[in-house]
């Protein structure tokens, strides 16, 4: 493989689109995962609180 023969600055410029596309995609995916996690935390914690409240009420009865 002759590296110098293969050298092409054009390929660098044209492949830069993978860089910005890749970074945007990864931030979007991670952003969705963050939102889903926050939502999940909120819903699950609320459900836990309700369950705890019910258990307490049952115990008092």
């Amino acid at each position: 493989m002759n590296l110098l023969e293969n050298f092409s600055l054009e390929r660098f410029v044209s492949s830069l689109r993978y860089m910005w596309q890749g970074m945007i995609c990864i931030f979007v995916v991670i952003g969705v995962i963050i939102l889903a996690t926050i939502l999940m935390n909120t819903l699950c914690n609320k459900a836990d609180e309700k369950r705890l409240q019910k258990d307490n009420e049952n115990e008092q009865e």
């Binding site: 493989m1 590296l3 293969n6 050298f7 092409s8 600055l9 390929r11 660098f12 044209s14 492949s15 830069l16 993978y18 860089m19 910005w20 596309q21 890749g22 970074m23 995609c25 990864i26 931030f27 979007v28 995916v29 991670i30 969705v32 995962i33 963050i34 889903a36 996690t37 926050i38 999940m40 935390n41 699950c44 914690n45 459900a47 836990d48």
Partner: protein, 368 residues
């Protein structure tokens, strides 16, 4: 006696000296594994394998069979991911999901190196070189195998670079972190507030991540699916024996085979090429820019945020788990013995594991 004579003769014919160089490289890997304790579980089998595959009369042995059975079809790295998933505690990022931003930012080096490598290599080769920056051996193997196949002469160098840089995290990262942060920034304290994470969240998390990533980057589903399956075994609470097996026996078993099988790509004719040096250089470049990407995003957030973040934790966004998280924690303690960054840095490190797998999937989506 005749066989010995013939094989010794072979060593001095047709570039036989190159095999001797490969033996020395194999010996160096074994030395680093034993004496320097650098990723010994992988470097030792790889070093031994490099010696075996460069013995003149060895052409098609059991190692080639193992390669076809476990690496050509990406089976070993995927099974290893079940073990890794079972080892990871996602608690820190479930407590503070925003930490995942740094995991995403620290993938910058992968994509930038892809562009740089494209100057010298074909696009699929450049993409496989870029993924070295993930500092994640199994992901590098899967991406390189899918894009380049068995016949490529550069897969060996990519695999060796990926695993070597994983081992060199404590050497490579501290100078970059010091160069990119001020003393004042390194002294920023981040009190850890452990939030309550319910068991339901822990169980749902691997499932939701698999679905989200699978919809956006379907090519990442193999890697991420196996990783998350391992984590589900850990968190479900009813498969403790399977979880323990995945964490210990399965992971160890596959690591043994993976290390020695990767070495089949380290034959002198494939490895001793000018391209290998360039790949090692570009891999290091990817690694440095990944670290820089995480730090820069942390600094950017600090401009707008009231609650300051220690930018060092951004550097832990690479996939080398848990080395990178520990390196950042130790650096924080060195600056200020009361500055405990461990939970934050490990959280970022875990998110780097997820993000690097997604980055691998995205690269496959772009190239295939």
């Amino acid at each position: 006696m005749e066989i010995l004579y013939e094989n010794v003769l072979l060593l001095f014919r047709d570039g036989g000296w190159q095999r001797v160089v490969m033996w020395l490289i194999g010996a160096l890997l074994i030395y680093l594994a034993i004496k320097k304790d650098m990723e010994p579980t992988l470097l030792l089998p790889m070093g031994f394998g490099a010696i075996v595959v460069n013995i003149p009369a060895v052409y098609e042995g059991a190692l080639s069979t193992l390669f076809r059975a476990g690496i050509s079809n990406e089976l070993f790295p995927l099974i290893l991911f079940i073990g890794i998933g079972a080892m990871i505690d996602f608690g820190p990022i479930l407590s503070n999901p925003k930490l995942m931003i740094f995991g995403a930012a620290a993938q910058f080096g992968i994509f930038f190196t892809l562009s740089l490598a494209a100057m010298f290599f074909t696009l699929p080769e450049a993409a496989s070189i870029g993924i070295i920056g993930a500092a994640d051996g199994p992901t590098a193997i899967v991406v390189a195998q899918k894009l380049l196949g068995d016949s490529s002469t550069i897969t060996g160098a990519i695999m060796v670079a990926a695993y070597s840089y994983m081992a060199l995290v404590p050497v490579i990262q501290p100078p970059i972190i010091k160069l990119m942060t001020t003393k004042k920034e390194r002294l920023i304290r981040m009190p850890y507030k452990a939030a309550n994470v319910s068991k339901t969240t822990r169980i749902l998390f691997p499932i939701i991540i698999t679905v989200v990533a699978g919809l956006v980057a379907p090519e990442s589903i193999d890697l991420l699916g196996f990783l998350m399956f391992g984590n589900l075994l850990r968190e479900c609470g009813v498969l403790n024996s399977l979880s323990e097996t995945a964490q210990k026996v399965l992971a160890n078993l596959v690591t043994i085979f993976l290390g020695i099988t990767v070495a089949t790509q380290m034959t002198a004719d494939k490895f001793l090429q000018p391209a290998t040096l360039l790949i090692l250089g570009l891999g290091l470049f990817a690694f440095i820019f990944d670290t820089a990407g995480g730090i820069l995003v942390a600094k950017l957030i600090n401009i707008f945020s009231k609650e300051k973040i220690n930018p060092m934790i951004g550097a832990a966004g690479i996939s080398a788990f848990p080395m990178s998280g520990r390196v950042v924690h130790k650096m924080g303690l060195k600056e200020d013995p009361q500055n405990f960054l461990l939970m934050h840095s490990i959280g970022v490190n875990v998110s780097g594991q997820i993000a690097s797998v997604i980055a691998g999937g995205l690269i496959l989506s772009f190239m295939l």
